[in-house]
């Protein structure tokens, strides 16, 4: 096998800019010392400006997955947790391992619409509802501001909205945390900012929930290198925005070309595309050709693949391999 193209983890295919790498190095040079409170506060301040929310409403962590896991652990004890199906595989995996009751609300092709009214009815007494918005793997924005209003007003529990792909859709409900004490928004710098290996995540929420997390402040914080790099990346978001533009353009081309091959491609507000081929075990067949895409067969049937938008070159390799598996 020659070259392996990895388009399975929704990472950015471009490395961080030199100044961000330099900042991470500075953190590394000083890594015999713990991160200071002022470093953490600096990052919180930068993120509050970037997200247009109060600094006090931001809680930092080493990646958004760990936050989701903690939220699920903390708030799932009193009853049935509600998640979307399919959803970010980590949410499903954590929820299934909790030993608590789960209700999965199935969303299906071609629309992948979330039945909000039915969800509200079911969620009234649920301690926690988790929605990834946009949804992974469908790429669809599942809730709008009105739905979030309705959900927050009708739930007795917590609504967690994961905005891991916010930069690609420019849609957020983060500002709504000031109206709803039961709303949590989680975000990451692993995707558009390209810091997946450094793991910087954050949640935006109100006082009550932050109170529940106060003892986790220290154990969940990111590393010094991660914090330095994140601060540097937020100082100038042009690089990130340029990459998002590039990916959006590439995404458009991928949709066109894959559709021309006869593959069903679903609209996406993210840096990945969900596709339905007519080939069973499509992900595995692509892997045999050296192209690794995400295999969503634990949640959808095996003809589906989820492919990250990579560089133009990577995308072309994917498309030609896709053509090969379609032609058998």
């Amino acid at each position: 096998m020659n070259r392996v193209v990895e388009l399975n983890r929704n990472e950015l295919s471009y490395p961080p800019p030199a100044n961000v790498i330099e900042a991470a190095k500075r953190g590394l040079m000083d890594s015999n010392r713990y991160l200071t409170v002022s470093d953490l506060n600096n990052l919180r301040k930068m993120l509050s400006i970037y997200s247009n929310v109060e600094e006090e409403s931001i809680f930092l962590s080493s990646g958004d997955e760990v936050l989701m896991a903690e939220i699920l652990l903390l708030f799932s004890k009193k009853g049935r947790v509600i998640i979307v199906d399919p959803t970010f595989f980590m949410i499903t995996q954590i929820a299934e391992s909790l030993g608590t009751k789960i209700l999965k609300v199935k969303i299906t092709e071609p629309s992948f619409n979330l039945p909000i009214e039915v969800l509200i009815e079911e969620a009234k007494d649920a301690p926690l509802v988790v929605i990834d918005n946009p949804n992974n793997p469908s790429g669809k924005l599942l809730v709008d501001r009105h739905s979030v209003d309705e959900l927050c007003q009708n739930l007795s529990g917590i609504l967690l909205i994961d905005e891991g792909y916010y930069e690609f859709c420019h849609f957020s409900v983060a500002d709504m945390v000031k109206n709803y004490p039961n709303l949590i928004v989680t975000r990451t710098m692993s995707k558009a900012f390209g810091l997946a290996g450094l793991k910087v995540g954050y949640m935006i929420t109100g006082e009550t929930i932050l109170e529940a997390f106060s003892s986790l402040n220290l154990p969940l914080r990111p590393t010094k290198s991660s914090v330095y790099a994140a601060i540097e990346a937020l100082k100038d978001t042009n690089y990130m925005e340029g990459n998002v533009e590039l990916i959006t353009k590439e995404r458009k081309g991928m949709i066109k070309e894959a559709s021309e091959l006869g593959v069903e491609v679903y609209p996406s507000s993210t840096n990945f595309l969900l596709m339905r081929t007519n080939v069973p075990h499509a992900a595995r067949k692509l892997k045999e050709l050296g192209v690794i895409v995400f295999d969503p067969s634990a949640q959808l049937s095996s003809e589906f693949i989820r492919v990250t938008i990579g560089t133009q070159d990577e995308n072309n390799v994917f498309l030609s391999s896709l053509k090969k598996i379609l032609n058998g």
């Binding site: 990895e6 399975n8 983890r9 199906d85 595989f89 995996q93 299934e96 030993g99 608590t100 009751k101 789960i102 209700l103 999965k104 609300v105 199935k106 299906t108 092709e109 039945p115 039915v118 079911e122 069973p280 075990h281 992900a283 595995r284 892997k287 690794i292 895409v293 995400f294 295999d295 969503p296 067969s297 634990a298 949640q299 959808l300 049937s301 095996s302 058998g328």
Partner: protein
Amino acid sequence: MNPVAGMGGSVGLKGTDGDMHKKATELGAKPVTQERAREFLSHIKNKNDLSFFVAPGKMGENIVNNYNVNFSVVSSLNSEITSAEDTKRIAKEMLSQDIDLLVFVGGDGTARDIYDAIGLKRPVIGVPSGVKMFGSVFGVSARAAAEIVDELIQGNISIEEREVLDISEDAYREGKLDIKLYGYLKVPEVTGLVQSGKEPTRTTPSKENQKAIAQYIVENMDRDTLYLLGPGTTTKAIADELELVKKTPLGVDAIYDRRIVGENLNEKKILDQLKNFPKVRIILSPIGGNAFLLGRGNQEFSPKVLKLIGKENIIVVATRDKINKVKCLRVDTNDMEVDNMLKGYIKVVTHYNEETLMEVT
């Protein structure tokens, strides 16, 4: 190979059960099984690692002969015209050859013949070549069936019991679907254990999933409620969990206080039971590849029964894998009012402590 399977499709006969293939030939239908068999054989990558036992003449030998594979012919044909009896006889004889997998090329009718001949004694995969193929014992295509053979060689499979359906061709020709559950065949299922970098796909083996569902249902059973347990392998797992040895595989049994109080009930017997028990719930699993919840294979739950019991007393169970493969559940009870009552959303128990909210259309 059923040499006449699929011939009815192009000439609008809906099938070739019985003598209908003669009519299909008169109408100019061309055999399709041979083409499907070729497609199947040419897509098996590891055919040189296999020993084939093939049916004689046009039931297999004539096609396999064109490939450079190791094969021996099982049995012989008494006449130029083959029949369901030949399929059954040869399938039975193949059992004595210590085969790992029986591959048949045909449709639902052929699947029933194979079931009659070998039951659950060996894994089976159907190369789809019939007209209807509502059953779920077929590969999605001839090529997919070939891939299952390759996977079997590599050991990447689990075995599941899948439904063989009995569809009345006469009714089908009149535009009606009269489907009954005929039995189960063991079918290899390619496991989704594909490791794609960091992100693993997690599939729970079907048996384990069924057991988890069964445990959940049994733990939550009320002692003062009569449970009507419908057909299916997941409902069978519930009977097993209750240690009930006599669950009717294709019919409805009544359970009260963890004991069977009625076996293989028809509509009338169910209605009688309803008179005796104030609290009654139905436990159902979607049937076949089309995710029919009611109206296919479980007509014992008639519109009258369903009206009396009500949607809120229907418990639906299905494995995650089954649910992943369908967009929604379907109902077709022949009664618009009952269908409308059942439509909307329903919760399906998909694991221990886990339900999936699904649309019913």
